[in-house]
Amino acid sequence: MSTLAALARLRAVRTGTAQRLATVRHCHLSERPMVFIPLRLAGEAAAPLAAMVGTDPGHPHLLVVPQPRDRDLRFAFAAELAEIVLPYVEGFLKETETVERRGAEPYERCADAPQLLVPGRSALAFTLLLGRSTRFRRAEGPHAVHPSVPILGRWLTFFAQRARHPGSALLLAATEALSLHWATGQSALEDANLASLIGWIDPPPGTTGADAAREAEDPLVWPPAGPATDPGFDAEVLAPAIRAYEEAPGERAAARVAEAVRTQLDPTWRLMWRAVDLLRGLPEGRGASARWETDRGSFTAFAEQLAEGGPPQPKHDGAVAAASRLARMERAQASYDAQRAYDDPLVMAAYRLTGEAFTGTVVASDPANAEGEGRGRKLRPLLTVRTGDPVRLATGTKLGTPDRRGQQAEVVEVDGELVTLKIVKGMGRGKVATPGAVPEVGDQVCYAALSDEYQPPASLPAPEETPWTHGGPPPEYVPSTEDDQEEWS
């Protein structure tokens, strides 16, 4: 935790409301996100109890499994969920744009993409499990399910897996998105409670965030945001309702269960839309839009794979797939970190405090400085910056700057408050610097040892050429009958 984030929490304690940790929004927010709040039956791995889902704050869909241990009812639930989620997702496939690429064929990318919002990390994990428990099912055979069920499973898997890709916004957990932008006066562990987090950020008039957060811990006032339900509710309300359904299955008994879970879901539904409003209040950062473009590409590619009839996502990555995913994630993480800092002075502040970045005033500038002779002559402008920040950068460190993203500079010398830099990249081919390309004396500048420059990793072997050190080629995927028969109980 940076000193800045720590200080923000202290200030939150003092003022009684959460403090901003960001000046812009670092995640894309769709104009029409779909909120998804799943509940699970306690004690079960992935037995859905209910879900509230929808894109209209005023009209949530409530799906209920009146007897969560009943396999058929579970798949009926999955089919019902598919009926809501699939049209929403597929709606984004209609409009595409053509993306030109240098040195490669242009391709089609969806003009927008779906976005799922869940309350927290555990809902995210549950979404992954729901996907896992449905994507291998089949529409024919002994345990046939509705054809939409495996498709839903594959989409849920896609969203949940993508959520772990740094900087992606296709599926967001509300608590995480909010914590990225606000510091509360409680601990990070307590921030995992959506109600208390929002209590700190936006306390009801007349109360402090601290009071609102405490109140939010009372499950009778604010039921847990799921997927786990309140044990007291389970014992006193849900168990009798389910028992009644068991004894006399029917509309009325089912409605009783539905009413019971509605009381648990309604408050969270409202909270989710408040979270959306709070996040909307922040202007979207530049990097967030760029990352959303990547998300759209990933969405488009997956939809194509699905349309081409590819197999469901495997249970785990093979050796090659794992290494390649890791490389993509590491790259995404580096550029996510850099972009956020360059987009937002409050994020940059954390790096300034550790001496990895600094801001200051240009006190000397030599835009015409050059190195090399003749054709090899290159412009290497020199700058000296006066800063009050505690700079801890070694000579030769590569630096970027938020104001001139294409440029790269190098530390020449740090002497007390004076930092001398040399701009080594992004000066173009001209003999003299274009006006404005080099900061002038008196300009405020910021430099940081952060880069979102991309160095492509070396290629990996094809999966069928996995070397002996890693277990040799994996067996080919054959959909096993075990997969689709696996009980879901």
């Binding site: 290494a323 070396a458 290629s459």
Partner: protein, 436 residues
């Protein structure tokens, strides 16, 4: 001879012979090499051995510096052996490597040397050629995804490395692969052995670097099941000062380290930032005082002055390193993080204890490999700078680490290793002088 302990040299030589014997018999051979146990010597020796067979050999190291070091060693031991070095286009050939290897960015530029050395990253770009033999150096610090990128290039390989040092890591969360035998975040050796459990694993039994005062401590704390011993006897190595001291706490700490191999320079207990000004300053001043005392190292290599180049200061974090540098240690003294000190050797080291001044320990600070690297770089003496209170911190440390199924438990446990080292240091404690 029956019943007598073989000499360290004989014992080590027997292991090296066994390794070389095993090479043609197995697809892969692993050699665990504790700190200073002659890993490079083994690599160079094996390289010569394999080159004799006339089959070309690729050597994979992890950093450019390691590649250069190996080339220098190869040129010393096998002067006639043609060596090539693959490198990136912006690589500047250091003076010590000049003329010792053909340097190029692509294989064809190297001619056809018997041995080609490059970093794992560079090898991954080297193209399709297959090699009958490879030697993978620092294989415990190599992430398995890197091995995956180069393993298709060789048929057989010798993997050499130190299992006690820092594990490879990533900035992203790799939980999804936890428990898989090919988890890309595991070390190259871990993945290799999980898929090929029958490969022979040898262990170099003697540390030539660590003195008799340090080998047992490091061995017990960090290699509890696979111990090693020192190559020298107690008293065989000595550190003496040609300039007199002034009985300051710094002098006393240095003298304690000179006589017992270790010193704990203990500052009063206090919770601090990790760039604790007093501790940082103490580390720099100890180095300054050490240079002023004109130390001389007496060992099996003879009598040599301990110059600034033979002294290092180690810390856990980069900002600590920056702070120590800012505190002005003598020019020429290496100051660096544990990560970057891996594989290096000095006469005397000064270590800022990773737990000094902390209120709570995190997994990062408790990682046994970090302390292992820091306390096993020296040939003569190690001075640890720490605030009092670390035993209390360890005592209060909650154990709630998550457990992942099918992930082999790693030993030693960081807690136990820290405890063992502290217990030993307690016998070499020197109380810090009050500042000003």
């Amino acid at each position: 001879m029956i019943g007598a302990m073989p000499s360290p040299a004989a014992e080590a030589a027997a292991v090296v012979d066994a390794v070389l014997d095993d090479l043609p018999r197995h697809r892969g051979v692993v050699v665990d090499s504790p700190p200073g146990a002659g890993k490079s010597t083994l690599v160079v020796r094996a390289a010569g051995h394999l080159a004799e067979s006339g089959e070309p050999l690729m050597i994979v190291a992890q950093t450019n510096e390691q590649v250069d070091d190996l080339i220098v060693r190869l040129a010393e031991e096998h002067p006639g052996l043609p060596v090539g070095r693959l490198s990136a286009s912006d690589y500047v050939v250091p003076a010590r490597v000049m003329g010792k290897a053909a340097v190029g960015t692509k294989l064809p530029e190297l001619g056809d040397p018997a041995v080609v050395v490059a970093t794992a990253d560079k090898w991954a770009w080297a193209g399709d050629r297959t090699w009958p033999w490879a030697i993978v150096d620092e294989a415990y610090q190599m992430r398995s995804d890197k091995l995956l990128r180069v393993a298709g290039m060789f048929e057989r390989a010798l993997f050499v490395g130190d299992p006690g040092q820092l594990d490879p890591f990533s900035v992203v969360d790799g939980d999804r692969w936890a428990g898989l035998s090919w988890d890309p975040l595991q070390s190259a050796v871990a993945v290799l052995l999980r898929h090929n459990p029958d490969l022979p694993v040898h262990r170099l039994p003697v540390s030539w670097r660590l003195p008799a005062s340090a080998a047992p401590v490091v061995s017990e704390a960090f290699y509890p099941f696979t111990g090693f011993r020192a190559g020298t006897e107690p008293g065989e190595r000595r550190l003496v000062f040609r300039a007199g001291g002034m009985r300051t706490a710094y002098d006393r700490a240095l003298e304690e380290a000179a006589s017992g191999g270790w010193a704990l320079y203990e500052l009063p207990s206090r919770h601090t930032l990790r760039t604790d000004a007093e501790a940082v300053q103490a580390a720099a001043l100890l180095a300054t005082r050490l240079v002023q005392r004109a130390p001389v190292a007496i060992s099996e290599r003879g009598e040599r002055p301990v110059t600034a180049e033979r002294i290092a200061i180690g810390a856990a974090h980069r900002d600590q390193v920056a702070a120590i540098l800012a505190a002005g240690p003598p020019p020429g003294v290496t100051v660096d993080t544990a990560n970057r000190l891996q594989g290096r050797e000095y006469d005397v080291t000064i270590v800022l204890h990773p737990l000094s001044g902390r209120r709570d320990a995190t997994a990062f600070h408790l990682e046994s490999g970090r302390l292992c690297v820091l306390t096993s770089r020296h040939r003569h003496a190690c001075v640890v700078v720490a605030r009092a209170g670390i035993p209390e911190l360890l005592d209060a440390h909650p154990s709630a680490e998550p457990v992942r199924l099918n992930v082999p438990v790693k030993f030693p446990d960081g807690w136990e290793a820290n405890q063992a080292v502290l217990a030993h240091l307690a016998g070499h404690r020197v109380e810090a002088a009050p500042l000003r």
